[in-house]
Subunit: 270 residues, 2 copies
Amino acid sequence: MSTKKVEFISSRENECIKRVKKLHDKKYREEFRSFIIEGLKLVKEAIEYQIECINLVIFSQQAKEKYQEFFEECKYLLQDGKIKRVIEVPDKLFEYITTTSTPQGILAECIFVDKDINFIKNLRRVVIADNLQDPGNLGTLIRCADAFGFDAVVTTKGTVDIYNPKTTRATMGSLFHLQIMREAEEGKLIKILKDNSFAVYVATPYGDIEISKIVPDKRFCIVIGNESEGVSDSFAKVATRKIKIPMVGKTESLNAAVAASIVLYELRKR
Amino acid sequence: MSTKKVEFISSRENECIKRVKKLHDKKYREEFRSFIIEGLKLVKEAIEYQIECINLVIFSQQAKEKYQEFFEECKYLLQDGKIKRVIEVPDKLFEYITTTSTPQGILAECIFVDKDINFIKNLRRVVIADNLQDPGNLGTLIRCADAFGFDAVVTTKGTVDIYNPKTTRATMGSLFHLQIMREAEEGKLIKILKDNSFAVYVATPYGDIEISKIVPDKRFCIVIGNESEGVSDSFAKVATRKIKIPMVGKTESLNAAVAASIVLYELRKR
């Protein structure tokens, strides 16, 4: 047992508070190689699955009372040396650093969890987010990839930041459950996929095979494209299969997150 | 050909402007039995599928220039007596009546399109939204119901308003493609379903059969419950089947709209 204690910070000028505030911006996330997650659920998932990535946990005074049991758990993990810092701040100061409009009063700073793109060689079932723009859609995609037994989510350069607070929130913790590779250069990514015999499926309304007819290869990736433009040409060109979702009504399209989810569902691990 | 002309309105005190502004509130939608839709796509879909419901179409001056072809089409439909009123307003006034933060400058007032609950007797494949709270989720559900060949969406009392601008926007026009029944009293709805031999499927994480194993009855409804509470007891009690989505990862749940979409996909018309 170490003798580490919960710190109390009340000034906006404190270095730690200044850093957390800066982490709202991608620029500083890249500089510090860390990001923030918020809310009981997310912080709990980080502790359960990737505790080594946690730099610090911050509670507002209100949250300390309200989530007393969880606060005690964090205190214990601090004393045990598993979490580096636990900080208590006045409610007003928490409002200053929060990324949400309805904060729960719990926030953590985490070190980047993504892996080098070459790590893909160890995997079999990979989701590629290719130029996805909406942070909520990317988060939902990661959550689905988790639910349906994929090994990893890879984002290409041009895709919204995986560490955007709106993305991490939408993952509901799945960010910590599977492998993440981010901002891969498309050419390099395609080369690695080919070199490692991945079948490349792309999801597109212009697909020539219905998703339900696909019997997935032992090793494959599924490429989910941009919300309005779809999958980029470079992936379309190397596609092993172009798959579509059957639709019978008067509408010609589905919400992007919904379409991606149905595709991952059909390709789920069985 | 009538001699009807495009009107120009520039005052907030104009009766028509005042009414459109009031339609942001559910209270006034109920009073006037009408609602507003916004954006090129939605208004076009309304014209194509349910032109008789359109009371008036409003263009901002900018939109009149930008969407000239569509403006001309509306002018023609006005002269032809198919649309009752077409109105042009200054951009500033449009900003006053818009329901979105990034308006396209096209808006229409429509008469309620929902049908009496007894109309369900004529249908075979029905989606029931039971206490759904998020307008975007309800809209996405309606869009999916359309894509997968359902006949109708019924909302129960307590579900978010189908005519909420966020809902209509998320439907992307599917609101005008299928039958809508709204704010049904649960007891009455269940009686009608039973009297007309509908199989009642409820979607729940605690289901005892996987959705992919279901062979849909000739006549059925699928009940999609509240985002956090799930399906209400009254539906759970009368369920013919309780169905779940198979999940294999470390997450125990899916985004509500995503889960509903996968269920509708599996029950799609084939």
